[in-house]
Structures are given as structure tokens and as C-alpha cells.
């Protein structure tokens, strides 16, 4: 049959470097429907045949909140900046759980998606991104519960809450960077899988989730945020939601710098190794 429309040609050279940032992003954009479909598939699968369904997404942070309240507020008597401790800790647990569940799913998604990777071509970054999407749904559910919690304790809400959008942006960018970096690494070295739960556990206590940022001396805070952008993000949450103030600009700048670096490094590394995934997984 005579082809009437000219077909685009793809040239694959062995020695070609991986495509650049823009081309890579464009490809992911082309595959946005796949991203969506895979993300939603996980959501469906996760809560299929479970009695409470998506409510589990709220039960987990609530449980943690109870434990933290009993352990750290009643026994350890940690300060909670004048708000009820449950709200204080939940405000941090909400973004933190999003972070930890997204990162741990995303990192294993590449190695776990072997069946697909070996059979079908698509930009591999879709896999970790789709897992984040799934965790995003959980996040939305537990955010709803947070709203109820605030109402119950009568914590006033101001327009400063809108800063949360910016904070989420920062957090998601950081998560993508970490996931790409470690996800690709995990495809080669499964050790990551074992280190990850421990690392996240340590990270949790190295982040002001159960304790308040006020415990860190003022002059170290920027360095601290540079080291741990999640700390800045969570502190920002408390500021915006509980204290009705704007997040600290310095902390934000420091966290953004690290995030950008991690994001770029993650992307570059992932892109560099992704074409060999099918051979090593």
C-alpha cells in the first residue's frame, strides 16, 4: 500500500547521548495519559477488596497522630507552639506521610515494573511519577481529615493557608528528584530497597514532625533547611496553617536550592541509565 502521509523517522544510534531535558519532558508529556492510567490503576488496586477502601489513607496518619500525642505530648511533654498537640503533629504528618509513601513507592516502582519495562517502550520516568500520583490521592483524603480535625479543635484558618500550594510544589519537586535518583539506583542495586525503610525512619525524626522547629537555634535553621528541605516544607506548613503567617523566606530559599540540585541530578542520572533498565532488571 502506498503511504500518503509522511511518517516521522526515529534514528537510534548506539553512541547517541540520551535526549536532553526538554525532549525528555516533552516525551513524558506525550505519555501523560499513561501516567494517569497507571496512577489510577494503583489507586484502584490498592483499595479493591478492602472494606474501608480509601479511608485507610486517613486511618494511618490518625493512628500515628494518636501515638505521637501520647508519647511525645503526654510523656515527653514536647512543646507544641500553643496549638493542641494532635493538630500540631497532624499538620506535619500530612506532608510527611505524603513524602514517605510517595518516595518509597516510587523508588521501588522502577524495579517492580520490570514486566512492563521489558515488554513495552515508554519513558521510564512515568513509573515513579505514577506512584506519586497514587500517593497524591491518599494525601488528598488525609488532607480532608485534617480539615475536620481543625474544625473539631477550633483552630482558626486564615488566607495564609494558600501558601500550602507553593509548599506542595516544593515538596513534590524534591520528591521527584529523590525518587528518580534512588529509583534508578535501585534498578541496579537492590540494596536501596532494604536501606530505604530505615532511612525514612531516621529522616522522620530528623525532621520537625514530632517536635517543633523552635528547638533548633535560629542561626542554624537555614543550614538545616539546606540539608533537609523537608524540614523547611513542614515548618512552612505549620506557619501557614497553624500560625496564620507566611513561611520563612530564608528557609524556603535554602530548601529550594537543594531541591533544584536534587531534581536536576536525579533527572540526569535517571535519564542516563534508563535505556539499560530492560537489560538489568
Amino acid at each position: 500500500m502506498i503511504q500518503t502521509r509522511p511518517l516521522p523517522e526515529v534514528v537510534i544510534r548506539a553512541e547517541d547521548p540520551p535526549p536532553g531535558l526538554v525532549a525528555g519532558l516533552r516525551e513524558i508529556f506525550v505519555h501523560r495519559e499513561l501516567l494517569w492510567a497507571l496512577g489510577m490503576r494503583e489507586v484502584r488496586v490498592r483499595y479493591k477488596q478492602s472494606l474501608l477502601g480509601v479511608l485507610w489513607a486517613a486511618i494511618q496518619p490518625l493512628t500515628m497522630m494518636f501515638i505521637f500525642t501520647i508519647v511525645f505530648s503526654r510523656f515527653a511533654r514536647l512543646p507544641s507552639e500553643g496549638v493542641p498537640y494532635p493538630v500540631f503533629s497532624y499538620a506535619a504528618l500530612l506532608p510527611w506521610n505524603f513524602f514517605s509513601s510517595a518516595v518509597s513507592h516510587a523508588i521501588t516502582s522502577v524495579a517492580g515494573g520490570g514486566a512492563l519495562i521489558k515488554k513495552v517502550y515508554f519513558p521510564r520516568a512515568v513509573l515513579p511519577l505514577a506512584s506519586m500520583l497514587t500517593s497524591g490521592v491518599d494525601f488528598l483524603v488525609s488532607a480532608g481529615v485534617f480539615g475536620l480535625l481543625m474544625a473539631y479543635y477550633g483552630v482558626p484558618v486564615s488566607w495564609h493557608v494558600l501558601y500550602v500550594v507553593l509548599l506542595l510544589l516544593l515538596q513534590v519537586a524534591f520528591m521527584i528528584g529523590v525518587s528518580l535518583l534512588l529509583g534508578a539506583f535501585n534498578a541496579y542495586y537492590r540494596d536501596v530497597r532494604y536501606v530505604l525503610p530505615i532511612a525514612l525512619q531516621v529522616w522522620l525524626y530528623a525532621t520537625p514532625v514530632v517536635w517543633s522547629m523552635t528547638l533548633v537555634p535560629e542561626r542554624y535553621r537555614a543550614w538545616y533547611a539546606l540539608l533537609n528541605p523537608m524540614a523547611a516544607a513542614i515548618e512552612g506548613w505549620r506557619a501557614a496553617v497553624l500560625r496564620a503567617s507566611a513561611p520563612d523566606l530564608l528557609l524556603m530559599a535554602a530548601a529550594s536550592a537543594t531541591t533544584l540540585a536534587v531534581l536536576l541530578a536525579g533527572y540526569r542520572y535517571f535519564h542516563h541509565v534508563e535505556r539499560n533498565f530492560a537489560d538489568v532488571i
Binding site: M1, I2, Q3, L7, P8, E9, V10, V11, I12, R13, A14, H31, E33, L34, W36, A37, L38, M40, R41, R44, V45, K48, Q49, A111, A115, L116, I117, K118, K119, V120, Y121, F122, A187, Y188, Y189, R190, D191, R275, N276, A278, D279, V280, I281
Partner: protein
């Protein structure tokens, strides 16, 4: 022609022996031990400097033994993996059917999976929605679409995966051995779909071990051996090359390949196996056997001293060490009194029942109790089993027979079939020509100069009618070639018929019987008995659709023709009802052997056939009705796979109350005139809004053209047989026939239209073509939008014109 795929010295290497994934510790150790840095891991080259290209719209098969790089090639094209060296170019969107269903999730429902899997394969949500119904229908999951896939049978899961993948709009389709899954019916459906895509201009790369399938789909094939291109060219030649390779490697590696840990030979050496030969029924040593052929395993031995009552064992295993069957003399009570000096033992396997594949032969000579071997060789010989049966399902054939019963208590007539062997071509030609003659005789087309439907309505006096000599001429010529002269009886009849161009009906029957007697003589040898029964006429479907006339016809024929027929199969192209107002029936008659040898019976049979046809016209004036005739003798020659229902799609119809005046078969000049006339009309044909009746008419012309062309070329031509024979001539223009075939299969019955027509049109109208036409035109609805879209999408009208142009071109060439 542009290339869809170009491989330019492409290589791909993997690290051999390394674990599937590394652990950090290993790499750290390597890093910390500098002396191991230079010790590079051994690379395994899955592909080495492979260059080839595939033109757009071409179908290329890729064959080779396991590990030769076939799948790697596909993975490179699918961009699943990246080449180590070289460049490849791919034009257009690529779809891969590599282990379909990899993205199917058991917890999700069929519907959810269709969307997810579709987007994994690169389909847009919009595209999936548009094709959803089609996909569900293709997958045959119907009402299970909202059931979680984990409750599906494995067959359904595979079908679902394939259905989604097969409905992608792609320019290049990669198919890797997916045809090995599913039952035979689904396999054939997949094959059909792949061919359909091929004919729509999709470039296809097919990797398969089923060489018959490669042959059916791909005109060109690439042979990969050890990661290099060993051959590229027309499929049959490349397959032959592959067999030669298997044969060579079989001879050279017989000692090398053996079960791990097993010595190639062991025993106490009193008796040695000198050679093992695989022979065909004529005693020739061969590397390849067809399924159903006879195979002789000849074991030649040399004994140093006399051994009493030795036992011999032979077993066949596949290359993965599965033993398919083992045979030994002890269990089968075959006594070899003693071995002394040299000798041989033959194991005769009549009708080799192993499925297509590569097998190894293991041979042992043992002591009396079969406990200690004198000599024992594993994998001493290899052979390939190939099959002409296009869709063989399974690994071997069990000895079996079929039976069939019409009514309780009455024994069904059994039809005898022998496996298709290598018959003399001359016998084949003779038989083919005879079949044509018989077909004409039973069809009633001979009686009237213009086989106008009207004529059929008049009472026919067969004894007063005449049969054109041309009907018999090919058979007589073939017989002369076959035996170097004509037997007395035939010559007498020929001398009567040839000068007059016609034979009275009675004489025609006599001639036909005499010819069949001759054929009988030539077929007598070697026809072994295997029973096959045709599917019975099933009135249920017709009754459901309110086609009582057809049901009555079936019953009528069954009664009236029972004494003459061995089998009867009424196949209404019910599907044609969808887009046309009239039904389209063919019947498939298997004529009893004895009928063929008795002129009286033959005439009575012909009379009943004509009567049956008329019966139907009287009940259903819109009916087209044709015969497809086989004889018991033919059944022996037809491989079972070619019998119904597979053969039936090739049966076409001569249609149209007055549109197509197909004349009696009176020589190639008349064919030429008709073919030219019809081709010219078609070549001018423009797409116009037309009704279903006109469309059917157009379709009928298209389907008739190959037969007419063959007739014009002087080949005896009966429409049913014409199609496949004509196909090679129409190289490049054949697509329209495939579209037409698809049309028959796809559109479903639209109730109401036919009934309205039948009420309005009566036999009376049929006698006046003008009135008939007008009436039909009034009741025939316009083409449905769906059908119109289909025609537009497949470029149907352009294809029609191309087809007609090609015919004219062929006719012109024939002139010179």
C-alpha cells in the same frame, strides 16, 4: 519504496554470567580490588553487526533457533533496549505484540484493563473509547467486561491482551510468538487480523517458531544464526536454508548436545550403535518430515560377541529434554533372538504424529531385562517436523477417529481421508479438472446458454439438455497426459463431443463416470483410512432468523440427495445478509464414490440438485444459490484442514438477478469478453451514494473477476477454486478481495429489510428484470454510515479501480 526499518551494523551485547542484577557489595568489592579491574566480564553478543532493511508495508518473518537474537531484534525496534553499536532507523509508530498482556492487572476488570493496557501500549483514551466495542468483541469477553480479570480463564486473558494490542493504529507491528497461545480458533483469528493489518499497509515483523505461520504471513524472511544474519530472501528459500542448518548442526552436534551429566554413550561395548538413520517411506535419509508422513528409525549395530535377546529402545525428545515418547522392544514383545556381527533394527513410525518442531532421537541397545545398556546414545540424531496444516494446535496427534450421526440409530456415512502425501502432479491436475466438470454438472449451469435465474424456474428436462464440451476437455487432456493415451470408452465419447462442442446430458454423465473410474484406478494405491465427518447442516441459526425456506431446503436436500451424497453442508453466508437484502447460500456436497461410477445415479443426483435449487428460488426469489462439490475421492487428497469451514470463505457467489449475465462456460473467448467488460466498468467506477443492493452487485463483480480472468487465460475455472489460483497474478492489487471478505465477516444481520423486500417482491417480479430492479432499489436502504466509513477508511473504491486496472492489464498481456 521507503524503508520502515533500517538496521545498520547493529550489535547488542549483554554481560554473560552476571547475576540479573548487581548488588552494591559486589561492585564495591570490584572497586576495592584494583587487580580485578582489567578482568572484564565476558560479553555475550546477542546481535553482531546485523544489517537489513524492511520496506514500508512489507511483512518480514524472522526465524532462527533459540538465542539467535530474534527477540533482541524486536526489542531494539520497540526501543525497549538500546543498541551497543550501530544505528537503526524506524519510521512511524511502532506497536509491539511481545508477550501480550504484560500490563494486564488481575484485580481490575476487563474494562479497566482495556484502558490501562491500551495506554501502556500508547493508545490515547479517545482512541480506546472509539475502539472499545471492537476490542471487546474481538476478545470475545462479552458480558465479562466488568468482571475482574483474575476470574477470567487464561485464554480470555490472552485474548484480551491481544485484542487491545491488535487494535492499535500503528505503522510497524512487531509480533513475537504470540500466536503460540490460545486455541486454534483464536490463533486463526489473530493470524487473520495480522494479515488484515498487513494489507492495510502496516509493516510487520513476525518472530515465530511456527514456520507455517511465517510462511502464511511473510513473503520475505530473515534467518538469524548466532546473532548474525544468515539469510534473507523469499520465505520458502530461507526456511529451506534453516532446515539445512538444522540438519548440519544436528549432524555435527549430536555428540555435543546431551543431557547435562549424562555421557553421550555408555555401556559395556559388546554391542555398539554404528549409525542411526532417519528414513522416509522411500528409504531416503532426510532431516525434515511432514506431520503424518511415515518415518523409519534405522539403528545399525555391530556386535563384538554374540548377545542373546537384546532389547532396543528409541525415544524422541524436544530440545528442552522433554521426552515425548519412548518405545522399546521389551514392552512391546518384539523379540530379537540374538545380535552377532553387523545388523540393523528398523522402527517404523507410520503417520508421524509429532507436532511441528525440532526433535532429538535417543537410541539404546540393552540386555534382555532392559536394565544394563550395551550402548546408549542420547541425542544421536535430530530431525524437524513441519506441517502443512496451517494451524496445528498442540504437540502431537493422538490416534483418533471421528464419527457423526444424523438421527438416532442411523449410522452416518463415513468419509475416508488419507493424509496428503506427495501425489503425482498429473493425478492432481486430472482430479482438479474432473472436479470442475462434476461441479458444473451438479450445478445446473450447463443447461441454459445464459444461466439466468429465470431459466432455472422453468421445469428442466435434464435428459434433453446438453453440456458444453469445454467442461470436459481439461479432464480429458489431463488424463491423456497422465497415462499417455485415452481408454477406449473415453476416446469414443470424446470423439462424439469434441466436434459438436456439446454432449447430451446422458453421454456427459457416462463420460464423467468413465473418467472417475480412471481416477479411482490411479488413486487406489496407498489411500489409508482415517475417518472424517463433515459438520452437519444446522437449521437452528436459520430458523432463528426467520429463514424457514432455508431450513426446508436443508431438509429437502437431505432427503432427496441422501442416496447420492456422503456429506452435506449448507453454509449460508448469513453474514452477507447484513449489508444486502438477500441471502447467499452455498452448499457443500460430498458425492459418494459409488454415485460417481454409475451414470444413472449421477444423473439422478444432478436432477435432484437442480430441483433443490429451484425449490429454494421458489421460496426465496432473492436467493443466490451455489454448490461446492467434493467427492469422496477428493477427500483423500484434501488435507483435513482444507475442508469446511476453512474452505468456505473462498467460495464466492455469482449474484444479481439480471446484473451479471454470466454465460455458460463456453470457452475462453467469452470469458475474455466478459472479463473485459466487467473490468472496464469497474475501472470507471466512482464512489457514489448507492444502496445496499447496488453495493452487493459491485461486490459480486469484484469477487467474480478473478474467475473470469482465469477463464480468459484458458484455465478451466470454477469460481470456488479460482481465488487462490488467481491471487499471484493480482500481485499488489488483491487487497480489495480481502476487504470484501472482511465485509462478509463483519457486518451483522439487519432484520426487517429482508422481510420487507420479500413481502414486496415475488416470483412474478423476478421474471421481469426491470420491475425487479426498480422494486429492489425502492426497498434497499442506503449503506449504513458505519459501512460507508469502513469503505472510506479502507480506500475500497480506489482498490476496486486498481483491481480492475490490473485485470485489464493482465488481459492485455495475455493477448500478446
Amino acid at each position: 519504496m521507503r524503508h520502515a526499518i533500517v538496521f545498520d551494523r547493529v550489535s547488542k551485547s549483554y554481560r554473560r554470567g552476571s547475576a540479573r542484577y548487581r548488588s552494591l557489595r559486589d561492585d564495591l568489592v570490584t572497586l576495592l580490588t584494583p587487580w580485578s579491574w582489567t578482568k572484564r566480564r565476558e560479553a555475550f553478543w546477542a546481535l553482531r553487526e546485523v544489517s537489513f532493511e524492511v520496506e514500508q508495508g512489507q511483512a518480514l518473518g524472522i526465524i532462527g533457533p533459540n538465542g539467535s537474537g530474534k527477540s533482541t531484534t524486536l526489542k531494539l525496534i520497540a526501543r525497549i533496549t538500546h543498541p551497543t553499536e550501530g544505528t537503526l532507523r524506524i519510521r512511524g509508530r511502532v506497536g509491539a505484540l511481545i508477550e501480550v498482556g504484560a500490563g494486564i492487572h488481575p484485580e481490575l476488570t476487563g474494562r479497566e484493563n482495556i484502558y490501562v493496557y491500551g495506554s501502556i501500549l500508547g493508545l490515547r483514551g479517545r482512541e480506546i473509547r472509539r475502539r472499545f466495542e471492537e476490542i471487546v468483541e474481538f476478545a470475545e469477553i462479552g458480558s465479562f467486561v466488568d468482571t475482574p480479570v483474575k476470574h477470567y480463564s487464561s485464554g480470555m486473558q490472552v485474548r484480551l491482551g491481544f485484542a487491545v494490542a491488535a487494535h492499535m493504529d500503528v505503522d510497524v507491528l512487531l509480533v513475537d510468538e504470540v500466536l503460540a497461545v490460545g486455541d486454534a480458533a483464536f490463533q486463526s483469528k489473530c493470524l487473520r487480523r495480522i494479515r488484515e493489518l498487513r494489507d492495510q499497509g502496516v509493516t510487520i515483523l513476525l518472530v515465530s517458531h511456527q514456520l507455517a505461520n511465517v510462511q502464511r504471513i511473510c513473503p520475505q524472511t530473515l534467518l538469524l544464526l548466532h546473532g548474525r544474519v544468515a539469510a534473507r530472501g523469499p520465505t520458502p528459500e530461507v526456511i529451506a536454508e534453516y532446515y539445512r542448518y538444522l540438519d548440519r548442526s544436528g549432524a555435527s552436534t549430536a555428540e555435543v548436545i546431551r543431557q547435562p551429566g549424562m555421557p553421550a554413550s555408555r555401556g559395556d561395548d559388546r554391542v555398539r550403535i554404528v549409525a542411526v538413520r532417519l528414513l522416509d517411506s522411500s528409504g531416503r535419509e532426510r532431516p525434515t518430515f511432514q506431520m503424518g508422513e511415515d518415518l523409519v528409525v534405522r539403528v545399525e549395530y555391530a556386535a563384538r560377541e554374540r548377545v542373546e535377546r537384546p532389547q532396543v529402545s528409541v525415544s524422541f525428545n524436544s530440545s528442552d529434554w522433554t521426552v515425548y515418547t519412548g518405545m522399546d522392544t521389551r514392552n512391546e514383545n518384539f523379540l530379537i533372538p540374538a545380535m552377532e556381527g553387523r545388523g540393523r533394527v528398523d522402527l517404523v513410525v507410520p503417520q508421524l504424529g509429532l507436532g511441528p518442531g525440532l526433535y532429538e532421537v535417543n537410541v539404546g541397545i540393552w540386555d534382555e531385562t532392559l536394565s544394563a545398556p550395551y550402548d546408549w546414545r542420547w541425542g544421536i540424531k535430530r530431525f524437524v517436523v513441519d506441517s502443512t496444516r496451517p494451524l496445528f494446535a498442540g504437540r502431537f496427534v493422538l490416534p483418533h477417529r471421528w464419527t457423526w450421526q444424523t438421527t438416532p440409530g442411523s449410522e452416518a456415512p463415513a468419509v475416508i481421508v488419507a493424509p496428503g502425501g506427495e501425489g503425482a502432479a498429473a493425478v492432481d491436475r486430472f482430479q482438479g479438472a474432473l472436479l470442475g466438470a462434476l461441479h458444473t454438472l451438479l450445478n445446473g449451469e450447463f443447461v441454459v446458454p445464459a444461466s439466468h435465474r429465470r431459466e432455472l424456474l422453468r421445469p428442466l428436462d435434464l435428459r434433453a439438455s446438453r453440456v458444453p464440451w469445454d467442461v470436459f476437455q481439461p479432464a480429458v487432456v489431463a488424463l491423456r497426459e497422465l497415462r499417455g493415451g485415452l481408454p477406449h470408452r473415453v476416446r469414443a465419447l470424446a470423439e462424439e463431443g469434441a466436434p459438436h462442442r456439446f454432449l447430451p446430458f446422458e453421454r456427459a454423465a457416462q463420460l464423467l463416470c468413465a473418467l472417475y473410474e480412471e481416477l479411482d484406478r490411479h488413486l487406489e494405491d496407498g489411500a489409508d483410512q482415517d475417518v472424517r465427518v463433515l459438520r452437519e447442516f444446522d437449521p437452528g441459526v436459520y430458523r432463528e432468523r426467520g429463514m424457514e425456506a432455508v431450513v426446508r431446503l436443508g431438509e429437502h436436500v437431505r432427503e432427496a440427495l441422501a442416496p447420492y451424497l456422503a456429506g452435506f453442508y449448507l453454509h449460508g453466508s448469513l453474514s452477507t445478509l447484513d449489508y444486502t437484502p438477500y441471502s447467499d447460500l452455498d452448499d457443500f456436497l460430498i458425492v459418494q464414490h459409488q454415485t460417481l461410477l454409475d451414470p444413472e445415479q449421477l444423473m439422478a443426483c444432478a436432477e435432484r440438485c437442480v430441483e433443490a435449487a429451484r425449490f429454494l428460488y421458489e421460496h426465496d426469489p432473492l436467493q443466490h444459490h451455489g454448490h461446492f462439490v467434493l467427492t469422496e475421492l477428493d477427500l483423500r487428497r484434501y488435507p483435513p484442514a482444507h475442508l469446511p469451514p476453512e474452505v468456505l470463505p473462498y467460495a464466492t457467489a455469482v449474484v444479481g438477478p439480471s446484473a451479471l449475465r454470466i454465460r455458460a462456460r463456453d470457452g475462453s473467448r467469452s470469458y475474455r469478453r466478459q472479463a473485459e467488460r466487467m473490468a472496464r466498468q469497474l475501472a470507471r467506477h466512482e464512489r457514489a451514494s448507492c444502496n445496499v443492493w447496488e453495493f452487493k452487485d459491485l461486490l459480486a463483480r469484484v469477487m467474480l473477476l478473478p474467475a473470469l480472468y482465469l477463464g480468459a487465460a484458458g484455465e478451466p475455472c470454477y469460481k470456488k477454486f479460482a481465488f487462490e489460483r488467481a491471487r499471484p497474478h493480482f500481485d499488489g492489487a488483491w487487497r480489495v478481495v480481502e476487504i470484501a471478505t472482511e465485509l462478509r465477516e463483519r457486518w451483522s444481520y439487519r432484520p426487517g429489510v429482508r422481510e420487507a423486500l420479500l413481502r414486496a417482491v415475488s416470483l412474478r417480479h423476478l421474471r421481469n428484470p426491470v420491475v425487479y430492479r426498480r422494486l429492489i432499489a425502492r426497498y434497499a436502504p442506503p449503506l449504513s454510515p458505519e459501512l460507508t466509513r469502513f469503505l472510506w477508511r479502507t480506500d475500497f473504491y480506489t482498490e476496486v479501480r486498481r483491481f480492475a486496472m490490473r485485470t485489464l492489464q493482465l488481459l492485455e498481456q495475455g493477448e500478446g
